[in-house]
Symmetry: C2
Subunit: 409 residues, 2 copies
């Protein structure tokens, strides 16, 4: 008998039939003798409907009231799923974030979980109940409703699994696991049986959006066994996300090829090469709430250097404006250039730590196809390059093949 936390996203509970189907799956696990805590998102489309209502009143809705509003989406889901479970003859009880007492800080719309009171859930599980918890939401110490931000139901699932010391946290989604790359681009892409947390972090942040990044970090921190599964297919073990490298018997060098087409690159040319210059450039960007991804600065020459970074494409115009009007004149840079027709492609794998030559293989493979590399950035377990977006599919395909990702078992 195991204690399993199962998380179902908005698509998995998108209509009455799917909710009933989730209830049947839960019932099968229950029949095997497991204790089950289910975390659900709002029915797909519901959160957008609520946001649309709110924005008709206020272009920028009051953060506290926005949370009161959107948290109703998950509240409807937990009630419906509990009814469906009860209808199958199971004992089930729903909990809002406040009812569990998922205590968060008071950062409305993007709150962080501080503590989870597992008393009631534990008692219910002991008494044979399926516990159904609203994802994405919590309550601050004053009793205000908070939300964890979009996609936060994954984090709720992992946090509950950690608090309850669950045997496994299963994330049900519309894909059946984590792939070596996007199967729509490379038909030979394989589902990975396991992937390490670190790799998953890199894969998620690089565009393989199977799981919300924060939930993966959370799972790693609390050593929660996390598994990604399809809610639409009955068979399949999904992909297990492990936190110990040596759980993998045979270490693959590269686990996958990730990519992100939502970025734009910006370069400031001929920046005076002196201490504090990076802060002078990126400070105003951060103040404007623009997230920066890759940052590249090469060695200088003649007291000058070039400074490049990437931002989300939707922030491109805003970032360019800040740099041209405020930053460049202030620091005496020659020119600001930018390009939003780029893609970042990355090779990810914990195995590359101990293997030399991965980078050169990657660069050679791209060169053979005539693909120019515009920026390079590396971490211990990934190598990312920025290329012209028109070469994206080609680059992913040739790298997937070069690292033999279609062959491994």
């Amino acid at each position: 008998m195991a204690l399993i936390v199962q998380k179902y996203g908005g698509t998995s509970v998108g209509n009455i039939e799917r909710i009933k189907s989730v209830a049947q799956r839960v019932a099968r696990f229950k029949a095997q003798g497991h204790q089950i805590v289910v975390v659900v998102s709002a029915m797909s489309g519901e959160t957008d409907r609520l946001i649309h209502l709110a924005k008709q009143i206020q272009a920028h809705p009051d953060p506290r009231e926005f949370d009161v509003m959107v948290s109703t989406g998950e509240q409807v889901s937990i009630a419906l799923l509990s009814m469906a479970l009860i209808d199958l003859g199971l004992k089930a009880r729903s909990y809002t974030g406040a009812q569990v007492r998922i205590l968060t800080d008071n950062a409305h719309n993007k709150a962080r979980i501080l503590n989870i009171d597992e008393t009631n859930m534990r008692n219910d599980l002991q008494a044979g109940y399926v516990v159904v918890v609203a994802g994405f939401q919590g309550v601050d110490e004053k009793g205000n409703i908070t939300t964890l931000g979009r996609g936060g139901s994954d984090t709720t699932g992992v946090a509950l699994a950690a608090a309850l010391n669950a045997d496994e946290c299963q994330i049900y989604t519309d894909v059946d696991g984590v792939y070596t790359t996007d199967p729509r681009i490379v038909p030979e892409a394989r589902r990975l049986k396991t992937i390490t947390f670190e790799e998953m972090l890199e894969m998620a942040s690089l565009g393989s959006k199977v799981l919300q990044i924060r939930s993966v970090g959370f799972a790693g921190k609390y050593k929660v066994k996390l598994r990604v599964l399809s809610s639409f297919e009955e068979a399949g073990e999904g992909t297990l996300i492990t936190f110990e490298e040596d759980e993998k018997m045979e270490q693959a060098i590269i686990s996958g090829i990730a990519f992100n087409r939502d970025e734009a690159k910006i370069t400031i040319l001929d920046v005076p090469d002196r201490p504090g210059i990076a802060y002078q450039i990126l400070g105003p960007i951060a103040e404007a709430n623009i997230d920066v991804d890759m940052i590249v600065q090469n060695v200088g020459h003649d007291g000058m250097t070039d400074f490049s970074f990437t931002v989300h494409r939707s922030d491109f115009a805003k970032a360019m404006g800040i740099l041209k009007k405020q930053v460049a004149p202030h620091i005496g840079a020659r020119e600001v250039t930018g390009d939003d027709k780029i893609t970042k492609v990355s090779a990810v794998g914990v195995g590359m730590r101990s293997h030399a030559g991965i980078a050169s293989k990657m660069f050679r493979t791209l060169a053979e196809e005539g693909i120019n590399i515009q920026m390079i950035s590396t971490s211990e377990i990934k190598i990312s390059v920025v290329i012209d977006e028109k070469y994206m599919e080609l680059a992913v395909r040739v790298l997937h093949k070069a690292f033999e990702l279609d062959h491994q078992v």
Copy 2:
């Protein structure tokens, strides 16, 4: 400066424009220096939408989960109204029933309020906030979400007014007050400036469904000054509901003519006239959760009597079945007859206590029009008759005229 509780029903917050209009009204009261607590229902149609969703899962939804579900309707309304108030530059804060802590018993779907913690509301009002509270809902002592049953937002408004010792509880609805009768039937019907609680109770239960009955009883018990107003017209004082008869300077004998076309009558003929017989007849009806309104039993003859009562039309067939199959054979009654083509018409007024002749005037008026009276029932402040439903409009018109309800000031 007064403390005013304002309650807005589902139609008053039925869409974005109406919510903004409610916010503007609240802002005008606030600008006059008043402290305002607003109670809102779910947007019209929303509760039905939620119930429909629930019933697709369970024909008879689990009561606890049903409350988790439908309570989201008001939660959306409080958030939207608070946003609208904030958008007008006011300070506003929303509260669910659980957040106020409107403590109820655990009778899901029809809970009763036990206690209200007014601490947070009081602090907010002192700090200049408009307090926006979800109607219709509360929380039991274990933290389960409860609802007061449909229409329960009126009760929430009155209960908050009582707890806060408010100067007035204003119920905004789609009519601008309580009328001497339905203006759609008698165009000369007048809006009453005041009506006593007792009269209002009789008027409400007899079909003038301006206010939920329970809320009126509640207001009377806690001496809350209750006023019914239109949320669509700016001017007008509505109708003040008073709890002291002598607040009325000149006592009208009859305040209004009420009617109810939703009833059906049932008669059991030749019932043995012995102690306990009424219980033997009505016990099985009560057990089947059928509400009984009028009950009439005349003096017996030859050891037999006839027993009549009225039920809601939707329960007519069920009640007839119980009486014919279970009750009549058991008690040895001759026959069970019924008629669902009837209407109850009532003359209501605290003034009739001290005036003889009201009943005879009523019966004479109906007789002059050839309207046969099928049943009669009286209380201290009302006389009700059951007549063929085809005479309903005629009866209401002639009674309204006979008691000079169109003339009084």
